[in-house]
């Protein structure tokens, strides 16, 4: 990807003029330093929630489902609402990793590691509910088709509830494998900086990774194929979850719109949770240079799109209910709006339909405060959506004598809060143990996304030379700015109204080398430096030094090494002043340079 031409109006994805080493430092630091007070407080609160949740789960298993307020009419309440909510949240991780990888969206690298971790923790929380809502949680392994002494009695492969089991198990496994595959090189980076017991731990976790070219090749191939199979997987998982409802006969459930509606809703709520987490994480861990406003805006655009799809789905349901003239279906929606749960319906509508539309405004999309607020609102709204689907529909189905009302008990509420606790405990631990941003992937996009290479304020200006790589002869003693104002090969793009530009206006290529590894970037006349003749310039070029700027930034020892390797007369050269001279040349301080050169002799 480093050789692609990047459009001059693309905003950078990494800010702060980072080098590879700085990226390593910034992203490994949270794993190497003690947590701050905010982490400790958040961890303690989450741990308290988690403990209470575990207690409520134990209460449920001990005293039975009677400790919940489910009844014959309303067989699913907060349990399945929470289950679908958590699974939905988990979808963003796979979408960011897999689908955005297939669409070559480089911005995913800022958020994919944390989003994948979020998926795994969310699916763990979700999987709790089917496990404990069965009543006899101790025989929950009956779900799995294994040879047994009861016939053998097999499970019902025709039931969506079982499809769910396979879908979620597969989803969890593949997400875990995908996440860990990406983590291995990053764990190796942490390992190589660690000492003592930490080194041993990360050595174990990094599986002996060395960074060999063949391994990287296989790693990329593996990531691509895993992304390719994870994409239909994530679409299938929430489709199958929607089948839990759509394959029934209940009005309000038995609709074919459910699969796309649920999948869009899952992506919608998942991205909202990713934003909630990322906005806090980037602030606390000082990762604003890697999770930029561009990332946030891109995620808000996804929220806008999927939120609109969800809104359209709501309208479609209403329309088809009216158009079908089917009394029960029409009543189902009438009941949602004015029945006993009307407050949840209107809350859902406000949160899910109205609020995402605010993201049409660029100012809102790029505002951290509004993004954070709206991400919370969307999460709440999507919880209400699942509750509306489950609770309101069951409370008022075909037979009025069965109509009932449902309010959760403290046990059910406690379990829900407990899963939130579990989620945040795991996420907080993750931020301290593993790099939150994908280190290797960020380095990979540095040259095509870093703000010194790309964007309106790029400083590392790269020219496409007119004559295919010849030394620039336009320099003359009186014409010092020739290099900077040489006509670019492509006409300069006139500034779009919203962009500020520095005075350098050229088409920026993200790389000086073409696909064959030939140097096609800017070349300066290095012989302007006292002590460098044409032969020495050739040797410097072969060592990758082509411009005054590069020579200015090269250590004298390295120049010495290059010369000594040539042997002969070159080995006795003294390049001590060359970097400084080159710096003057680069900065255009020719009068100074010439004055100094008069004093120098042979560059000594």
């Amino acid at each position: 990807m480093g050789h692609a031409v990047v459009s001059p109006i693309r905003e950078p994805l990494i800010t702060g003029n980072k080098t590879y080493h700085q990226i390593t430092e910034d992203l490994c630091r949270p794993t190497e330093t003690a947590p701050g007070l905010s982490w400790i407080i958040a961890f303690v609160i989450s741990l308290m929630f988690m403990t209470f949740g575990v207690f409520c789960i134990a209460w449920t298993i001990w005293f039975g489902i009677g400790s919940w307020n489910l009844n014959r009419t309303i067989g699913w309440g907060w349990d399945i609402t929470n289950f679908v909510w958590w699974i939905g949240i988990g979808h963003a991780g796979t979408l960011i990793s897999a689908i955005l990888l297939l669409f070559r969206q480089k911005w995913r690298t800022g958020v994919n590691r944390a989003a994948e971790a979020m998926t795994i923790f969310a699916v763990m929380c979700a999987a709790l509910f089917p496990g404990i809502h069965v009543g006899r949680a101790w025989v929950v392994f009956f779900f799995f088709p294994y040879p047994n002494t009861r016939g053998p009695l097999w499970v019902n492969f025709n039931s969506p509830l079982l499809w769910d089991l396979f879908a979620i198990s597969t989803y969890f496994t593949i997400s875990l494998l995908f996440w860990y595959t990406g983590l291995v090189p990053d764990f190796a980076t942490v390992r190589d900086r660690a000492k003592g017991i930490r080194r041993k731990i990360y050595s174990f976790l990094s599986f002996g990774w060395t960074g060999s070219a063949k391994h990287w090749q296989r790693w990329e191939s593996l990531s691509l194929v895993l992304a390719g199979i994870a994409t239909p997987l994530v679409l299938s998982v929430h489709t199958i979850v929607s089948f839990d409802f759509a394959t029934s006969v209940i009005p309000g459930w038995h609709t074919t719109i459910f699969p796309p509606y649920f999948v869009a809703g899952a992506i919608f709520s998942g991205f909202a949770m990713v934003l909630t987490l990322m906005l806090i994480t980037r602030k606390v861990l000082h990762l604003e240079d890697y999770i930029t406003i561009e990332h946030i805006e891109s995620m808000n655009k996804v929220i806008l799109a999927t939120g609109s799809i969800v809104g359209v789905a709501y309208l479609t349901e209403l329309f088809v209910a009216w158009y079908s003239s089917y009394t029960y279906e029409q009543f189902a929606f009438f009941n949602r709006a004015v029945g006993p749960y009307y407050w949840s319906y209107w809350g859902m509508m406000a949160c899910n339909v109205i609020t995402p539309q605010l993201f049409w405004s660029r100012k809102m999309r790029r505002s951290i405060f509004w993004t954070f607020l709206l991400s919370i609102v969307v999460n709440i709204g999507m919880w209400f959506e699942r509750f509306v689907i489950i609770g309101t529909t069951l409370a008022r189905d075909y037979l009025p004598s069965s109509w009932s009302y449902y309010v959760p008990t403290w046990v059910e509420i406690g379990i829900f809060l407990g899963t939130i606790g579990i989620f945040f405990v795991l996420y907080l631990l993750f931020t301290r143990v593993a790099p939150v941003v994908a280190i290797a992937e960020i380095k990979h996009i540095l040259k095509s996304g870093g703000n010194q290479y790309v964007g309106p304020h790029a400083t590392h200006v790269l020219h496409e030379p007119q004559h295919g790589g010849q030394v620039d002869h336009s320099f003359m003693r009186g014409d010092h700015d020739a290099n900077l104002t040489a006509a670019p090969l492509v006409p300069v793009v006139s500034d779009p109204p919203n962009f500020e530009r520095t005075r350098v206006e050229v088409v920026e290529k993200s790389n000086d080398y073409d696909n064959d590894g030939n140097y096609i970037g800017l070349k300066n006349d290095l012989t302007k430096v006292e002590g460098i003749g044409p032969k020495v310039q050739e040797h410097l070029n072969n060592a990758g030094i082509y411009t005054w700027n590069q020579l200015a930034n090269t250590e004298v020892n390295k120049i010495k090494n290059v010369l000594e390797a040539q042997g002969g007369v070159y080995a006795s050269m003294v390049p001590g002043t060359w970097p400084e001279q080159a710096k003057m040349a680069h900065e255009g301080r020719w009068d100074e340079l010439m004055k100094w050169q008069d004093e120098l002799d042979g560059g000594k």
Binding site: H21, W154, D192, G208, G517, N542
Partner: protein, 176 residues
């Protein structure tokens, strides 16, 4: 696994393009590179090194097909031979109902199979000792390594000179 130690002569580069150029030159000079290391995958390197395309996706296809067959044939056997039950008035062999689980198991087998294959062929896994040449390779250095076991002083000097001339900021040796 190599049965003898490798005496490795390696050069560290600061920029991946300088390293790629060096690899190109090494190939044209017919120098035998042991391996190239980098902190991230460098695109364009594989054809220069002459690395064949990875066959891991083919392995993925094979594993996936195994998953498809396992799921579909198993469910067919259960519901037609072993214990046929009428569910909702549907036929015993209800293929549409088998599709979700068949798909899931295809993906599961493909994923697990490919990942296990990946670690196996790379020789990586929990407890494997990392054979790193320098700790900075996973940070910001790029490395070209030659195996100089059994080579003469002259040949080693030649390689050293090549590394320095091509822009390596450091040249070191290590026994692996």
């Amino acid at each position: 696994m190599a049965s003898r130690n490798k005496e490795v002569l390696f050069g560290l580069y600061d920029d991946e393009n300088v390293m790629m150029n060096a690899v190109k030159k090494a190939k044209s000079d017919h120098l035998e590179i042991m391996d190239v290391y980098s902190p991230f995958p460098v695109h364009g390197l594989d054809p220069i090194l002459g690395l064949e395309e990875s066959r891991i996706h083919q392995a993925g296809f094979v594993f996936g097909s195994m998953g498809t067959l396992t799921a579909f044939l198993f469910m067919t056997w259960v519901f037609t031979r072993d214990w046929p039950v009428i569910f909702g008035g549907k036929p015993y062999w209800s293929v549409p109902a088998f599709i979700p689980i068949t798909f899931e198991l295809t993906v599961l087998f493909a994923g697990i199979g490919m990942v296990v294959t990946f670690y196996t062929v790379c020789g990586l896994g929990p407890g494997v000792e990392p054979k790193t040449l320098d700790d900075r390779i996973t940070d910001d250095k790029f490395c070209i390594a030659f195996d100089t076991y059994g080579q003469s002083e002259d040949e080693i000097e030649n390689l050293r000179g090549f590394l320095t001339r091509s822009g390596a900021s450091e040249v070191n040796t290590k026994v692996l």
